[in-house]
C-alpha cells in the first residue's frame, strides 16, 4: 500500500543524454540518494538507466525490497555502474517490517566493495570527483562495518590529510593514483564517503564568523 504524497523529477535534457566518455556525466541522482541516506528518509527513488528502471525503496536508514537483500544490492550496483538518464523521488508510506530489508550503509558498502564497477564508469567518477571543491573528511566510527569496509585504512589516511591540511583536493588525490587498480580503490572510497555524508565542502570563513574552535585549529596547524 503506497500513498503518494509528493513527486518531483530532476535532470535537464542535456543530462538525459549521457554515457559516452566525450560527454560530461551527471551524478545528480547520487546527490539525491545521499540526501535520502543522510536524512534516513522514507520514500522511493526511481532511476531511469539504459538497462531499464531501477527502484530503491527506503525508510529510516533501511532499503526494502520484496525481492530480498540481494536485489537491493543489485539495484545500487546498477545505478553506480551505468549512467542514469533521469530519476525521480517519491515520498510514500512503506509497509514496513514484513518486507525484506537491509541497512542502507551495509548495502552501499556491499555494492561498492564486493562487486565490480565498470572501467568507463570509474573514469566518469574520476571526472566527477575531480570537479569537487576542497573537501573536509569527517571522522566516524567506521569500524562498526569491520570487514565490509576494506577501505578503512585509506579512509583514515585521507582523513588525516584533511584535518592536518584543512581540506583535501580530490583532483590532486586522484592524480596521485599509481595504477588503474589504485584509482578503482580511490573511487570506491570516495563513493562511500560521499554517500555516507563523511565528505563535505570546506567552509569558507569570514573574519567575523570564525568560531573559537576554528581559531584553535588554525593555531595548532602552525605549531
Amino acid at each position: 500500500m503506497h500513498s503518494l504524497t509528493n513527486t518531483f523529477a530532476s535532470n535537464s535534457l542535456s543530462e538525459m543524454t549521457m554515457g559516452r566518455r566525450d560527454q560530461v556525466v551527471s551524478f545528480n541522482h547520487l546527490k539525491n540518494l545521499r540526501r535520502l541516506l543522510f536524512e534516513k528518509h522514507t520514500g522511493t527513488m526511481e532511476f531511469l538507466t539504459h538497462h531499464g528502471n531501477v527502484y530503491l525503496h527506503m525508510s529510516d536508514g533501511y532499503f526494502f525490497s520484496e525481492a530480498g537483500s540481494e536485489a537491493i544490492v543489485d539495484s545500487i550496483r546498477a545505478i553506480l555502474n551505468t549512467p542514469v538518464y533521469n530519476f525521480s523521488r517519491k515520498e510514500m508510506m512503506l509497509r514496513g517490517g514484513s518486507i525484506p530489508h537491509v541497512g542502507a550503509e551495509p548495502a552501499v558498502l556491499d555494492a561498492c566493495y564486493f562487486h565490480d564497477i565498470t572501467s568507463i564508469q570509474i573514469q566518469n567518477f574520476v571526472d566527477y570527483f575531480s570537479r569537487f571543491p576542497l573537501v573536509s573528511i569527517k571522522l566516524a566510527p567506521m569500524h562498526r562495518y569491520d570487514s565490509q569496509f576494506p577501505g578503512f585504512a585509506e579512509y583514515i589516511n585521507l582523513y588525516e590529510q584533511s584535518v592536518l591540511e584543512e581540506g583535501v583536493s580530490l583532483k590532486r588525490y586522484l592524480k596521485g593514483s599509481a595504477s588503474p587498480q589504485d584509482t578503482y580503490s580511490m573511487i570506491r572510497l570516495l563513493i562511500v564517503l560521499y554517500l555516507f555524508g563523511l565528505m563535505e565542502p570546506v567552509r569558507t570563513r569570514s573574519d567575523n564568523g570564525i568560531s573559537l574552535f576554528s581559531r584553535l585549529m588554525d593555531k595548532i596547524r602552525t605549531i
Binding site: S136, L139, H143, D146, S211, L212, S214
Partner: protein, 185 residues
C-alpha cells in the same frame, strides 16, 4: 578590555599511554606535572607517574587559550578524574595498544567518563610500532556497536599530537553543527 576565552580538554587513559608527552608537544608553557616515583606495578613500566594532573596551555592570542589537563592513569587517583573533567569541551583517551592490561583499563576509564560527561571524545591507540600491538580497528571493536572514533598515533611525534588535537576539535565542531541543525530542523 576583551574577555579571555578558555577551552579545556582532558587527556586521560591508563598509565604509560603517552598523556604527558602529548600535552608537552602542544603546550606553549612548560607543563606543570605532579610526578611522583612509581611504587607499585607501575614501577615496572616507568620511573615516575602522574598522581594529580599535568597542565599545559596553548596560547592562540590574547583572547583565547587552550588548557590541557592530563589525568593520573591509576584508578586509585580516580577522584581527580571527576575534578579535572568539570567544564571540559572534549576528551582524548590514550591507550597503549601493545598492552592488553592497558586496553582493559581503558574500557573502565572510558565507562567512568562517559557516565559523567557528554562531550565529543576520541581514542588514540599508541605503541603502534610495537610488534603485536592491536590496531585502532581492533581496539575500536571493544567499544561496542556505536563506538567512538579511534585513530592510531604516536604522541612522541609532534604531527600525531597535532592530529589528535585537530581531530577532537573537528568532532566538537561537527557536534556543534549537528546541534544547531537539530535546533531549527
Amino acid at each position: 578590555m576583551m574577555n579571555k576565552q578558555i577551552v579545556k580538554f582532558v587527556i586521560t587513559g591508563p598509565v604509560n599511554a603517552g598523556k604527558t608527552t602529548l600535552i608537552q608537544h602542544i603546550s606553549d608553557t612548560a607543563v606543570i606535572s605532579t610526578d611522583e616515583s612509581a611504587t607499585d606495578a607501575v614501577a615496572e613500566v616507568k620511573k615516575n607517574t602522574t598522581v594529580a594532573m599535568d597542565h599545559g596551555i596553548l596560547y592562540v592570542d590574547s583572547t583565547l587559550e587552550l588548557h590541557l589537563y592530563g589525568t593520573p592513569g591509576q584508578r586509585r587517583f580516580d577522584f581527580m578524574w571527576e575534578i579535572l573533567a568539570v567544564g571540559a569541551s572534549g576528551i582524548i583517551f590514550l591507550v597503549d595498544g601493545s598492552d592488553p592490561t592497558s586496553i582493559e583499563e581503558m574500557k573502565y576509564i572510558y565507562k567512568h567518563f562517559s557516565e559523567q560527561l557528554s562531550v565529543p571524545a576520541l581514542v588514540g591507540v599508541t605503541k603502534q610500532d610495537v610488534e603485536g600491538s592491536l590496531t585502532p580497528l581492533e581496539v575500536s571493536k571493544s567499544f561496542g556497536e556505536d563506538g567512538v572514533p579511534v585513530i592510531g598515533c604516536d604522541p612522541r611525534n609532534k604531527k600525531d599530537s597535532k592530529l589528535l588535537m585537530l581531530s577532537l576539535l573537528s568532532l566538537i565542531m561537527q557536534d556543534e553543527e549537528e546541534m544547531a541543525e537539530s535546533e531549527f530542523f
